[in-house]
């Protein structure tokens, strides 16, 4: 159980980068961007293709980020220049990317134009590269003996290096996001999501800012996809299905638990939300009568509940408040009546 949860936390931290991307569009720009399902795979496909061709995994990951950025900008252009509704722009781009992703993966094969997946079984990845450095530090042995002896657990994860490296990457991205959203451009992007008319009257090009915001968001999503491909040593054309809903679930769960008082806190909440989502996922998979394929349904239910429950709670609270006021008023009236009797 511990190892399974450990794996979920590792994955959750990687998916957190995608969730930060979704936060950027869904919350900051107020743009429900469905490109995510496609651009996640674009990131994975680009990185896997380049790694399979023998390129350096860091370069491959950087190219994946660029590919995601371009995909996001395209969605932005469809919406701002093509005047297409935001949801439809994202759906169109998502569908277009499905074909493009097959083509990207096809580049790794000599005898095919398209390819539905790329295995990276023995390939060099960011994680395997880091692992050789990490092993030389000898931290694994120390931590493993700690969980086995002091915590009394039977099993320990194979390595602690992966969680360490993904945590560092995700935290760096989180801090960059915090910083960026407070720069002049960042403030203008936030205002674009908040009040377009206002920010236009302060000489900001809202079209350009929307394109930039979508580009950055999908760059993060593709980054996450590239890391997941390297983590699971596999890229697949269908690995992005439902990704936007997972991103939303992470954002909503995180915000509900940790609050949104400041940007610093909100981005932290989104990261935590992504990890919590993965843990819920892992636990749900351990229930006997559930199948892996039920997970999409469960994700949808989690998002629906996360959206609906706060409304119900608010309503209930208001009802209680009103009821309390009614009782107080009744008490007052009764007192008044008694006072009247007294006089008479």
């Amino acid at each position: 159980m511990f190892t399974a949860l450990f794996g979920s936390v590792e994955q959750g931290i990687i998916y957190a980068i995608m969730a930060l991307g979704v936060y950027l569009t869904f919350r900051v720009l107020d743009f429900p961007d469905l490109t995510v399902d496609g651009s996640f795979v674009t990131g994975a496909a680009t990185a896997a293709m380049m790694i399979a061709l023998g390129y350096n995994p860091i370069l491959a990951t950087l190219m994946a980020i660029v590919a995601g950025f371009i995909a996001g900008c395209m969605t932005g252009l469809l919406h701002t220049k093509g005047k297409i509704n935001p949801l439809l722009s994202g759906i169109l781009m998502m569908i277009a990317l499905y074909s493009i992703n097959l083509r990207i993966m096809g580049l790794s094969a000599e005898n095919a134009i398209v390819k539905p997946n790329i295995p990276l079984m023995n390939a060099d990845t960011i994680f395997s590269q880091f692992q050789s450095f990490w092993s030389s530090l000898g931290i694994d042995a120390a931590l493993t003996s700690f969980v086995k002896d002091s915590l009394g657990l039977q099993t320990a994860p194979g390595t602690w290096g992966t969680i360490f490296v993904v945590l560092i990457i995700t935290l760096i991205i989180k801090f960059i996001a915090d910083w960026f959203l407070k720069t002049e451009v960042g403030l203008a992007i936030r205002a674009t999501g908040d009040n377009k008319r206002m920010i236009r009257s302060f000489s900001a090009n809202t079209d350009g800012l929307i394109v930039l915001g979508l580009g950055l968001s999908n760059a993060l999503v593709a980054f996450s996809g590239a890391l997941i491909a390297q983590y699971s040593k596999f890229a697949d054309a269908n690995m992005g299905i439902g990704m936007i809903v997972i991103g939303l679930a992470s954002v909503i769960i995180g915000e509900a638990i940790f609050g949104t008082k400041t940007i610093f806190r909100t981005t932290l909440a989104v990261v935590a939300g992504a990890i919590i989502y993965r843990i819920i996922y892992a636990i749900a998979l351990r229930i006997d009568w559930l199948d892996t394929s039920d997970m999409k349904l469960i994700t949808a239910i989690i998002v629906v509940l996360a959206l609906v429950i706060p409304q119900l709670v608010d309503k209930r609270r208001e009802k209680k408040r009103k009821e309390k006021r009614r009782m107080e008023r009744l008490d007052q009236q009764r007192e008044f009546m008694q006072g009247g009797d007294h006089l008479a």
């Binding site: 002049e184 403030l187 908040d194 008319r197 236009r200 009257s201 302060f202 000489s203 090009n205």
Partner: protein
């Protein structure tokens, strides 16, 4: 400073709803002019403001700001020169951002936005001293989200944001109309103060005749897409509401549409 030459605009052209919004408008503002604009609903006041700000483009005619023709310039580029306050107190600020963040956005109006910190220490001092001028105590609520402010406070903040970078033109589109009388009075007073301090070239649309008479050095009256009356700075100080009413009757040969808002209080 601002020149409108032969501006024409027709809405819904060649349909049964066709409406002439602006009919050959010519207007010239010298630096420091403060012009108030009155007229009944549908007279073309707001359309004219939108022509200047770039939210609408004229069918033909030219808009010139500081000697530079801007007729085809998109709204966001033109707003480098133009400060605007809208009628809706919600329209001029970003509600989910803090007071200082809103001010930082307004502050970057003239400059290209980059990756500098929006609210730096130096700017914060400047924001503070600017807010103090409003006298509403907003300087002590720097990190409050603007959505938590009252309508009057938001409108005062909008006014400050529109003026503190000293725009070439200030456009006020019935910016006190949505406020209760005491708040409207406060905003009117602040408008006067900020325009005088910055010596800003200003155009103000109002439904309130008394306000139009009290503020500014010039007044124009619009009707059916035309400027039908223009009072210059010599005659303006002695102008009264009955004067305006009788002028209107003389020009149009009909009684002024005595809609309640037009008379004001």
């Amino acid at each position: 400073m601002l020149k409108l030459e032969g501006i024409n605009k027709i809405f819904n052209e060649a349909t049964p709803d066709e409406k002439v919004a602006l009919d050959n408008i010519n207007l010239h503002l010298a630096p420091g002019d403060f012009v108030t604009i009155i007229g009944s609903n549908g007279a073309g006041k707001s359309t004219m403001m939108n022509m200047i700000s770039g939210a609408l483009t004229p069918d033909f005619g030219a808009v010139t700001i500081e000697g530079k023709e801007v007729t085809k310039l998109p709204e966001y580029k033109r707003s480098q020169y133009i400060g605007r306050v809208f009628q809706d107190p919600m329209a001029g600020t970003a509600p989910s951002m803090t007071i200082e963040e809103n001010l930082a956005i307004a502050y970057s109006r003239n400059a290209k936005r980059g990756l500098r910190k929006g609210v730096s220490r130096g700017r914060r001092d400047f924001f503070k001293s600017s807010l103090e001028k409003l006298g509403l105590g907003l300087e002590n609520r720097f990190n409050a989200k603007v959505g938590m402010l009252s309508g009057g406070e938001r409108q005062a903040l909008s006014l400050l944001m529109a003026t503190f970078t000293k725009p070439s033109i200030l456009l006020l589109d019935e910016h006190t109309a949505a406020l209760d009388p005491s708040r409207a009075e406060l905003i009117t007073r602040l408008t006067k103060q900020l325009v005088e301090e910055g010596n800003l070239t200003t155009l103000m649309v109002t439904h309130n005749m008394q306000q139009a008479i009290d503020l500014g050095n010039r007044l124009i009256m619009m009707d059916k897409g035309q400027i039908i009356l223009s009072i210059d700075d010599e005659k303006k100080p002695t102008l009264t509401i009955p004067d305006l009413m009788s002028e209107f009757e003389k020009i149009r040969g009909e009684k002024m549409n005595s809609d309640r808002a037009l008379l004001g209080s």
